[in-house]
Assembly symmetry: C2
Homo-oligomer: 152 residues x 2
């Protein structure tokens, strides 16, 4: 569906404006789709994101700063996301003995199990939309987006 149809616009629109709307709308479509996958597991997209970061630590605990800087949304509130994961026993949290300002967050076995079960569904999700493009177009879309968002 073209972006004009999505917002039921009748007047012609500048291509620069179209990019903005297309990026915002595509993000909505992707996350709606992903939320459907996560729904049965009762974790949100951001919570999933935190779990993935923790698994990437391969056993080492991650403190709040590390989690924060690996998240896409740099302003999201890591403390409260970790709170929610704690309640579900998907992570543990303890004060770092070397530096008591820091908090060591580790994914639990239960957390790892949830991720393992989700892995094939997440891969299918990633490829679901990409199937609409050929290999060249996929590379091109990535490079156009990276080029587009450069701040100068």
């Amino acid at each position: 569906m073209k972006i004009e149809e999505v917002i039921k616009s009748t007047v012609p629109m500048d291509n620069s404006k179209k990019i903005i709307l297309n990026v915002l709308y595509t993000q909505n479509v992707i996350t709606d789709n992903f939320n459907e996958i996560l729904k049965p597991y009762e974790i949100s997209g951001e919570q999933y994101n935190v779990l993935r970061i923790l698994r990437g630590q391969k056993g080492c605990p991650a403190n709040m700063c590390v989690i924060q800087e690996r998240m896409l949304a740099k302003t999201s509130n890591t403390t409260r996301l970790v709170d929610k994961l704690l309640l579900k026993d998907l992570v543990t949290r303890k004060v770092c003995p070397e530096n008591r300002r820091k908090i060591e967050v580790t994914i639990t076995q239960k957390g790892l199990d949830v991720l393992l079960e989700l892995d094939p569904k997440v891969i299918a999700h990633e490829q679901h939309f990409s199937k609409n493009l050929d290999a060249d177009e996929i590379i091109q879309l990535n490079s156009l987006l990276e080029k587009y968002r450069n701040q100068n």
Copy 2:
């Protein structure tokens, strides 16, 4: 900045996954940038969006359904967005006499004035990122995004 640097990823990543992250991150960059513009006016991006839809009505009032279906985020809560705009006297709201289930929302002169002041800044914002691409690339990015998100 390439997406791997953004999330400080060291392991190689599938291109399909990269698109997801690139779209999500680009959306964050765009909206952060746009929020900066809106900040002095004390309206949010979604509130701005509603005002734009109302101006597009050219004098005719819009009911909640119409606003909803023209918004990018189809699940956002129009009632509460309009509430906020009402408090700032940027819109008016009255029950439709022909069909008392419907609510007629109209932009006020104050609302139109705010939009008019914002117009040049918004156009500059739209072109800010597009300047990184040439005319062909802009067209291509739009068509790749539209092709990408097709549900089959």
